[in-house]
Subunit: 108 residues, 2 copies
DNA sequence: TTCCTTGCTACAATTACTGTAGCATAAAGC
DNA sequence: GCTTTATGCTACAGTAATTGTAGCAAGGAA
């Protein structure tokens, strides 16, 4: 697969174009990414509570996703402990919140 | 991990609740799902063209995702060949189309 | 027939994820 | 002090998902 990008391009997993939308689709397309954002939509959760909310998903992936989401600026670790959405993360979350309604309509 | 659901629940990968939103988040959270929908947003593409659009992703996964997306009712194979979005698929696509604008804003 | 193109599959190698256990740290409770 | 409990986080072997390459059968068109 594509291992390099043309000079000047910002290299991003899942895309050789460096277009932000591709980077975003790739990040959100990893397991538990969307789910984590979804579970944090209302209030911050401790790592343990988040794990419970995510059907006891493996802490290994959860930790990996949280790190990625933090680097992306969507999630932050509060000083009192507990993961929460940043302002940007809340924006993102609201962007795909209509999915909820769609899902209800889709369930056939 | 959870291998069974309580009686009466619709079992769905990535969730033991059977809530449609979870099923949707899980489906969209598999690799290339979002990307495929994105690439089909404007016009149908042949399997080959779709592969090219998706950075030469492996045909194995693409085929698997296309099958899942077809079973979900988001994508269909036209009789003249070529994959396109269904009406439902277009709805879904529009649901997360604001992501594009978000991504541009996010690129830091 | 030959040459393309379509949708699709096989299969080994690689990577991602799971499940379980556990660590270091810190804040109580005794 | 010591024990308990909870935090964020990591190790690691087993398993599942994905990749990369090759190729198939069917359908045109030349």
């Amino acid at each position: 697969m594509a291992k390099q990008a043309a000079s000047g391009e910002r290299r991003v997993r899942g895309s050789r174009t460096g277009r932000p939308i591709m980077a975003l689709l790739d990040l959100l397309g990893r397991r538990w990414s969307l789910r984590i954002l979804w579970e944090l939509r209302e209030a911050p959760l401790t790592s343990r509570a988040l794990r419970t909310a995510c059907d006891e998903a493996s802490p290994t992936v959860l930790q990996a996703r949280l790190t990625e989401l933090r680097e992306a600026g969507f999630v932050e670790l509060g000083d009192g402990g507990g993961y929460g959405l940043t302002a940007l993360g809340r924006d993102l979350c609201e962007t795909f919140m209509p999915l909820h309604r769609f899902a209800e309509r889709w369930k056939r």
